[in-house]
């Protein structure tokens, strides 16, 4: 019973985090935008949920984050699929290849951010025939990438706190 209660509370906390970060990310004026850069907070959140939660539940939570993001996107399903794949990939990496620590978290965040942004640019702009995409890359996406990476340790600490309180593994090695 204690185990089930922990899982329930943990999942509720993660769902609330997803809702909160979705609002923070997609509402202008809440998070500062230095030099026009935006924070894509749902991506690091999905990475860390995949790392800590593992398995099907982590992947489904990632998909939920993507579906929330899709509400504000003009292309339905893109972020749902991408966040699903991101969480699944992170789950696999932590289960078979990497350790769950802050260094792995940052490496996976950097990698997943880059892949998500790249795929977004290709599908939304390159295939639509938009010209001068390098301006988008260097004036918007690169600064946003760096800004999101800088904020990701804060997200990591929050997710780790949830697992510290209600997780199966009480001690997380740094």
């Amino acid at each position: 019973m204690i185990y089930d209660k922990k899982v329930l509370l943990r999942n509720i906390a993660l769902i609330l985090f997803i809702l909160l970060f979705s609002l923070l990310q997609n509402t202008s004026g809440i998070i500062p935008e230095p030099f026009g850069a935006r924070a894509f907070l749902l991506i690091p959140l999905t990475v860390f949920i995949g790392m800590f939660e593992r398995g099907v539940s982590g992947t489904l939570l990632g998909a939920f984050a993507g579906i929330l993001w899709d509400i504000s996107s003009d292309k339905d399903g893109f972020f749902g699929i991408m966040m699903f794949l991101t969480a699944f990939f992170c789950t696999l990496m932590i289960t078979y290849l990497m350790r769950n620590n802050i260094a792995s978290a940052l490496v996976l965040t950097a990698l997943c951010l880059a892949v998500n942004i790249l795929v977004f640019i290709i599908l939304f702009y390159v295939l639509s025939g938009v010209e001068d995409i390098s301006y988008f890359v260097f004036r918007f996406y690169l600064p946003s990438y760096i800004f999101t990476l800088l904020l990701s340790p804060v997200v990591y600490l929050l997710v780790r706190a949830v697992y510290g309180k209600w997780g199966e593994f009480r001690r997380i090695k740094i």
Binding site: S72, F79, S134, F136, F140
Partner: protein, 290 residues
């Protein structure tokens, strides 16, 4: 008894009674409704009355400091409740005021185009990953909004609906390079197509391409929709020309246009859900990507 009525005291009493009766008669006939006795007494004793009243007030305030804290707490709660209600009413008033202003701005457009059907919406969020400033509105299918409905702000074009949910919809702004609108400059009549540009989006500008190399379009010119493609009705203002430059790719020219509304700070907008000629294509069909 006879001695009493003949005594000096009785005479004085009768004299006083007579004077009082005389005063009453005088008060009845005077416009002040006041007898001379009352006036004299009032003049003499009113300062005393003022002093007594002042003392009474001070006594009240003195007594207040001995009230228990629970009385104060109750008063504070009541005042806080009133303050909250007033704040809410003020907030609703401000929202209504902004909405009325939006409606006033669109009224002129509606009077000129009686076939326009609008749905008022508010910008509620945006897609953080979209550099083209797309935005989400709180109107959807239930408000008769459909894909490719124009979005206007203060009677000017600001975007187009690209995705419709039941109660929300997503619009691409005119800054988005994926959006292309048939347009022309008013004074010269030169036609072109207006689209966002990755190069200009940082400055909040769009590009009117396809102008002649010998174009007469100059800075300050007004760019309006041509109605080509049947997506946007003709004659709606998009923005004003900032600069005119030669296109690097070919021999044509292009103009940089500043949208009439600030796309990054939109709040209330109107979705044009229906107008005469919507969806009817003509010879100058403009393809919209996506």
């Amino acid at each position: 008894m006879r001695r009493f009525f003949l005594s000096s005291k009785a005479k004085i009493a009768c004299f006083a009674l007579a004077a009082l009766l005389l005063g009453v008669v005088f008060a009845a006939f005077s416009h002040n409704s006041s007898s001379f006795f009352t006036s004299i007494v009032s003049a003499v004793f009113s300062p005393l009355e003022k002093a007594a009243s002042s003392l009474s007030r001070h006594a009240d305030s003195f007594a207040v400091s001995f009230k228990s804290s629970s009385v104060y707490l109750e008063q504070i709660e009541q005042l806080e409740k009133q303050l909250n209600e007033s704040t809410q009413k003020l907030s609703e008033y401000e929202k209504l005021k902004a909405k009325v202003k939006d409606y006033e701005n669109i009224l002129g457009l509606k009077e000129r185009n009686s076939d326009f059907v609008f749905s008022y919406g508010t910008v509620i969020s945006r897609n953080a990953a979209d550099a083209g400033s797309s935005f989400v509105l709180d109107v959807g299918r239930i408000d008769d909004v459909s894909v490719n409905d124009p979005v206007l702000c203060d009677g000017n074009v600001v975007g187009i609906i690209k995705k419709v949910n039941t109660t929300t919809s997503v619009a691409l702004s005119v800054l988005d390079p994926r959006l292309s609108i048939g347009a022309y400059e008013v004074s010269t009549g030169e036609k072109g197509f207006l689209s966002g540009s990755a190069k200009l989006i940082g400055d909040g500008l769009v590009r009117l391409s396809g102008l002649k190399s010998t174009t007469a379009v100059v800075s300050g010119g007004i760019v309006i929709t041509s109605g080509a493609g049947g997506v946007f009705p003709p004659g709606i203002v998009i923005g004003t020309v900032v600069t005119v430059e030669n296109d690097e790719a070919d021999t044509s020219s292009y103009a940089t246009v500043k949208p009439a509304c600030d796309i990054t700070s939109l709040s209330g907008v109107f979705v044009l859900t229906d107008f005469a000629g919507q969806g009817e294509k003509d010879d100058f069909t403009v393809d919209l990507s996506g």
